[in-house]
């Protein structure tokens, strides 16, 4: 279990800026804190071990702390909505997705303290309920027939609060033979008391949280004065609005408007616009979607649904526990606030490393002489994998891992706290894909010491903690570097990376926004030297939004290695209207950026590279200086080899430059290293690395037309081999050779008329 955890208010800050840390304790009322530079976060006894360097700061010492909770579940709120004291009718289209959950809210104007007001909900099994609370107590009507999951219904609830008369009506949009899900029921309850404000998909609770959440889609919720029959709903939803009905209208929320925002538009006369809480999914097919257009921006009227989830989380909203004004002279790099509340033991971990990066100073006047090397911290990928819980939500991953699924203390805590919210790999409790991930919450796997169920036998590290292998190596070899994060690049663009001659990636830079992609390509095309230190990079397109800062969106559209699959028609990002999915499917395969692209994955063991004839090309002489070896990287902390987890290869048809040299290729993979699905049409019987020679990592190098160069390791596992044998090994040597040459400003040859040898 975890007894302490936390998150920063942002993932990067410049020297002199203040960064706030939010910490929660499960025991005691205080914790110790200190600022550290993160050097090596992998505790594997086979490796260099944990390394952190204390940076004295005003944060050092004891701080008060307490338990902070997270209130998950999305909803729409209209705080100023007046009391529904006179007869009214509520209409909505509804698509419930988790009918086994009890006590869900469709609409509430309910005072939880006094148990009065009006609540329209769903009972376990999918039965619509109407609850009125007032001077006569609380009374509930339950529909006699249930709604069926993932079917659209037209729901009408007419209520006279004064008399307690209630009429519930629902009918399916598609009437299946033998189905029994129509309701038309009249009941009399007690008089409803008055309450104000209004919520959809949730109810404000007495303790200040929002609870009783709804899982499913709502589309076109409407409130009109008076009690009216179900048959009026069609007329109400037509445009232009019927004048007579318009006079009765209290509110009509058209979710097809302002889809890219956190607001909902009431097109009724009172303009009771709503605010969305906890980032429910928008750009969702509505009840009337026909498929004639798949873009909500072009056909918004077919995208009038919002998909609410009881486990959506946007902002944990924790109080700040510690603030640090970063020293003005703090070097750029990876850091963490190390917090602790006692000794860890076999039952509980009592420390946490809350990670962040220090960038160069923003003010050009304060930048001074900068290193020419930049580490592009893949924070988009860290956010995509934030609290990756497929070992909990997906089930059956043991067969993929080829060994028992590993849970550490963090994972046990994650299991008990679904309100933490999932990663972009997870599904919600209702089975729909998690399309948004926010960094405004504790992210248990963006931390040193986290050992992942996904990380390959041995160290079992992934993403951030795997990247600490590279931080350690850079420090060991004495290379100075700046850090820019993905989010910084998204906002700052090309100008932010223009000053650097060399950019090194992390082990798995998988997720990129359009702005990031464009900036990176511009940098490469202007002579930059890219050292791609991982595998499966530049794979998925993501989006950010100014309306939801700190959150990132993904649509797992069409193709690719996908733990969940976006519904047809829901491939466009709600944040910005862009078509989502693989960069390859957008016409920008990873090969275009880095010279290589994703070919295979396997999560247990890694293998070695065998030198290829291109290694002896004079253009590659500098790479193999001091490395006569035929076999490269038959060792490593990540699966026991340098070629593993996810592999890339050269494919000119997909955009790998025609001058890429195949320096070495991996071999000896087991049948568990499998070809990825976008690489085949009909399913071949030889998907595994033991029978398919396309399953390999290509160690690759090529010059660019602007005098720059690309070097690709094509393997997530490469960095796990850097420290082997006290950093004296061929993986380390090759990496160092490349980095030293890339830092040498002499341009790379661009003409085949040279002999290819570098100065």
């Amino acid at each position: 279990m975890l007894k302490i955890t936390g998150y920063p208010d942002r993932y990067s800050a410049a020297p002199g800026e203040t960064i706030a840390f939010k910490v929660s304790l499960e025991e005691d009322d205080c914790f110790e804190a200190r600022l550290v530079r993160v050097v090596h976060g992998d505790a594997n006894p086979e490796g260099p071990g944990l390394k952190f360097r204390h940076i004295p700061s005003k944060a050092d010492g004891r701080h008060p702390g307490f338990t902070q909770k997270m209130d998950a579940g999305s909803y729409m709120t209209v705080p100023g909505f007046p009391a529904l004291d006179t007869a009214f009718t509520f209409y909505t289209m509804i698509w419930p997705t988790l009918v086994r959950r009890d006590d869900q809210t469709i609409l509430s104007q309910w005072d939880d303290k006094t148990q009065s007001g009006i609540h329209i909900g769903l009972k376990a099994g999918g039965y619509v309920t109407v609850t009125l609370g007032g001077p006569g107590g609380v009374r509930q009507a339950v529909a006699p027939k249930a709604m069926v999951e993932r079917q659209w219904y037209a729901l009408t609830v007419a209520i006279d609060p004064a008399s307690g008369a209630v009429h519930i009506d629902h009918s399916p949009l598609i009437a299946y033979a033998m189905s029994d899900d129509r309701v038309s029921e009249q009941v009399t309850l007690a008089r409803a008391g008055s309450a104000s404000g209004l919520m959809l998909a949730g109810t404000p609770m007495a303790d200040g949280t929002v609870g009783r959440h709804f899982d499913g889609k709502l589309d076109s919720p409407i409130l009109i004065r008076g009690t009216h029959p179900a048959g009026l709903q069609d007329k109400l939803m037509r445009t232009p609005r019927d004048i007579e009905l318009g006079r009765l209208l209290l509110a009509h929320w058209e979710f097809s408007q302002k889809i890219d925002t956190g607001e909902t538009v009431d097109t009724g006369p009172y303009r009771h616009h709503g605010t969305l809480g906890n980032l429910p999914t928008r750009g969702m097919k509505g009840w009337n979607w026909t498929g004639e257009d798949h873009s909500w921006a072009r056909k918004p009227e077919h995208y009038g649904a919002i998909h609410f989830h009881s486990d959506d989380l946007y902002d944990a909203g924790w109080d700040t526990s510690v603030e640090i004004a970063l020293p003005d002279d703090l070097p750029s790099g990876p850091y963490a606030l190390h917090v602790s509340c006692g000794e860890s033991d076999i039952d509980a971990t009592r420390e946490d490393y809350i990670s962040f990066f220090v960038t160069p100073p923003r003010d050009p006047a304060k930048r001074g002489k900068r290193p020419k090397l930049c580490f592009l911290a893949p924070t988009c990928s860290y956010i995509a994998y934030a609290n990756h819980a497929e070992h909990i939500t997906a089930r059956g991953v043991e067969i993929l891992m080829n060994r028992m699924v590993h849970f550490g203390h963090s994972d046990l805590w994650m299991y008990d706290h679904p309100e933490l919210g999932g990663s972009l790999y997870d599904t919600h409790a209702d089975g729909s894909g998690v399309a948004y991930s926010s960094r405004l919450r504790p992210v248990l796997n963006f931390k040193a010491q986290y050992h992942s169920w996904l990380g390959g036998h041995g160290s079992a590290v992934y993403q951030y903690n795997a990247d600490t292998h590279l931080f350690d190596w850079l420090e060991e070899k004495g290379f100075d570097y700046d850090v820019i994060t993905d989010e910084d690049l998204h906002v700052g663009g090309f100008a932010l990376i223009e000053p650097y001659d060399v950019i090194m990636t992390g082990t798995h830079p998988e997720y990129h926004s359009t702005a990031m992609w464009d900036a990176m390509k511009a940098w490469i095309d202007r002579g930059g030297r890219l050292m791609y230190m991982g595998g499966n990079g530049w794979y998925w397109r993501v989006a950010f939004s100014d309306h939801w800062p700190g959150a990132m969106e993904l649509r797992r559209a069409e193709d690719g290695i996908r733990p969940w699959i976006a519904e047809p028609g829901e491939y466009y990002h709600s944040f910005n209207g862009e078509y989502g999915g693989l960069w390859r499917r957008l016409g920008r395969a990873p090969n275009v950026m880095a010279g290589v692209g994703f070919i295979a994955q396997g999560f247990d063991f890694s293998s070695y590279y065998r030198r290829a004839p291109d290694a002896d090309n004079p253009r590659a002489r500098f790479i193999f200086e001091g490395v006569p070896d035929e076999i490269i990287g038959d060792f490593g902390l990540v699966g026991g080899g340098a070629a593993g987890i996810e592999l890339d290869c050269i494919t000119t048809d997909l955009g790998s430059p025609t001058n890429m040299l195949r320096l070495a290729s991996s071999e000896g993979h087991s049948g568990m290293m499998l070809l990825v699905n976008e690489e085949f049409g009909p399913v071949p019987p030889n998907l595994g690395g033991d029978q398919n020679d396309r399953v390999r990592a290509d160690l690759a190098f090529g010059e660019t037309a602007a005098g720059g160069a690309l070097f690709a390791t094509s393997s997530i596992a490469w960095c796990g081999s850097l420290s082997h044998n006290g950093y004296a090994n061929n993986v380390s040597r090759i990496t160092e050779n490349v980095l030293r040459r890339f830092l040498d400003p002499a341009p790379f040859p661009t003409s085949p008329d040279t002999d290819g040898a570098h100065p």
């Binding site: 059956g396 409790a429 087991s670």
Partner: protein, 110 residues
């Protein structure tokens, strides 16, 4: 119908697994046995819980619904992942074949 593990046919893979419960290369026959054992058919899922990373492991059972707690078998502590894999293999072998394997992971043949 998928492959059915039969003691008579598959017993030959037991020692191969015990020699190396976690390894890069296995015989296709053993990999098939393991794949069949690991298929998720509903119900509880076995997991490996690291009480102290790289040093101390126990087996856990994760129920089908997340609303229910993980059951931690802390009466059997393993000092390696391999030892835990062997224990789980033996349980599954018994489920599939009815046979009990009376060998400990540490008792490797000389």
């Amino acid at each position: 119908m998928v492959y059915k593990i039969v003691a008579e046919d598959d017993r030959k893979y037991v020692e191969e697994f015990r020699e190396a419960p976690i390894t890069a290369h296995r015989s296709p026959g053993l990999q098939r046995v393991l794949n069949i054992m690991r298929l998720y058919r509903g119900g509880d899922q076995y997991i490996l819980i690291a009480r102290k990373e790289f040093h101390d492991y126990v087996i856990g059972r994760m129920p089908p619904l997340r609303d229910d707690p993980i059951v931690i078998e802390d009466d059997m502590v393993f000092t390696s992942r391999e030892a835990a894999e062997w224990e789980l293999f033996c349980r599954r072998w018994r489920q599939h074949t009815g046979e009990i394997i009376n060998q400990h992971y540490e008792d490797k043949t000389a």
